[in-house]
């Protein structure tokens, strides 16, 4: 269930991000903990009215929740992924990002030095 599967993932990520038990999330949405479990295990998918409740309570857009669409701003996607990682993986990702930035900074420096040289020769 490709898209349903992704819908499940997004519901799970919302619960994880907000550190909620199935019971607490159910209480916020006015459904039982069993219903939340059924959504998260793909036994049923939320009724349309419950989708709107999730969006309202957890401040997300229905297009994102249901279809995984974004407005082209990937920052929120990265935040969602980040929140799903454990602290070890977060540290690993941070060092990877730092290395990439360092590598790119070096590249920019070299390029600007070359440009400068061209300017002098001109």
């Amino acid at each position: 269930m490709a898209h349903t599967h992704k819908l499940i993932e997004r519901i799970c990520s919302i619960r994880a991000k907000n550190h909620l038990t199935t019971r607490k999330m159910g209480a916020l949405l006015g459904v039982s903990a069993t219903t939340i479990v059924k959504w998260e295990t793909g036994q049923t998918h939320p009724k349309r009215s419950n989708i709107l409740k999730i969006c309202k309570v957890f401040h997300c857009s229905p297009s994102w929740l249901v279809y995984g669409l974004s407005d082209g701003n990937e920052v929120s996607d990265i935040t969602n992924l980040w929140n799903q990682l454990g602290s070890k993986d977060q540290t690993l990702l941070l060092s990877l990002a730092s290395s990439l930035i360092e590598k790119n900074t070096k590249k920019i420096k070299i390029t600007s030095e070359n440009h400068h040289q061209v300017g002098i020769n001109d």
């Binding site: 269930m1 490709a2 898209h3 349903t4 599967h5 992704k6 819908l7 998918h45 009724k47 349309r48 009215s49 989708i51 709107l52 857009s61 229905p62 297009s63 249901v66 279809y67 995984g68 669409l69 974004s70 407005d71 082209g72 701003n73 990937e74």
Partner: protein, 212 residues
């Protein structure tokens, strides 16, 4: 220099277009998801209850078209085949079921000569709306980028769809006459705008294939 670059990025016309299209889809989704389950639907199509947005009725009035004509065009065989073919490649398509596409949660946009339509599917419910003129080009661009666009504006159907999930080949075995089409399928890069895992960025003209 850096400020100029940032300013350019913030004013990227593609971002503005995507934002417009996204907002439109979101607005239509809010309406779709607010319709009570037991409300009378406009069309019962293969056990899917299809609701229409007000824009559809406005379009019928504007074009002096009857609902029967509109349905005949909307549920015509060639377009139906194209959509069915795509649905059959979705993981949640269960061919063992009496209504195999009953669990599908998906969306697409299709363009007719005088209307750009957004079709939202949520399990046994669907919602059809016709985009206002100001949103047409943004919606087209966004749907193309998301691999969810069918162009029926000319004498052929051009499909911008991704035909596989998770980089796998479509699980549905297509019949002989579609072999030529399968040859065109090319799962490849990721789309950054939606959670399709693989995509195809080619215009596939299905007319010749289907008519064989």
């Amino acid at each position: 220099m850096t400020d100029n670059v940032i300013s350019f990025i913030q004013n990227d016309p593609d971002d503005c277009m995507h934002q417009m299209a996204f907002n439109y889809i979101d607005e239509i989704m809010f309406e779709f998801f607010s319709i009570p389950d037991d409300e009378k639907c406009q069309k019962d199509h293969k056990r899917r209850r299809v609701f229409y947005h007000q824009s559809v009725y406005d379009h019928l009035n504007r074009t002096n078209q009857s609902l029967a004509n509109f349905h005949e065009n909307l549920y015509r065989e060639d377009l139906g085949e194209v959509i069915q073919f795509w649905l059959k490649t979705r993981k949640c398509y269960d061919k063992e079921k009496r209504f195999p596409a009953g669990n599908i949660i998906n969306w697409f946009v299709f363009a007719e000569p005088n209307a750009m339509m957004l079709y939202l599917i949520y399990g046994e419910f669907a919602y059809l709306s016709i985009a206002p003129p100001k949103i047409i080009s943004a919606l087209q661009q966004y749907a193309k980028a998301c691999q969810r666009f069918i162009d029926c504006r000319n004498n052929k159907i051009i499909v911008h769809f991704n035909y596989s999930e998770d980089g796998e080949k479509p699980k549905y075995k297509i019949e002989k006459r579609r072999i030529e089409l399968l040859g065109l399928l090319n799962p490849q890069s990721n789309s950054s705008l939606c959670d399709v895992d693989s995509s195809i960025d080619k215009d596939i003209s299905l007319k010749n294939v289907i008519k064989k």
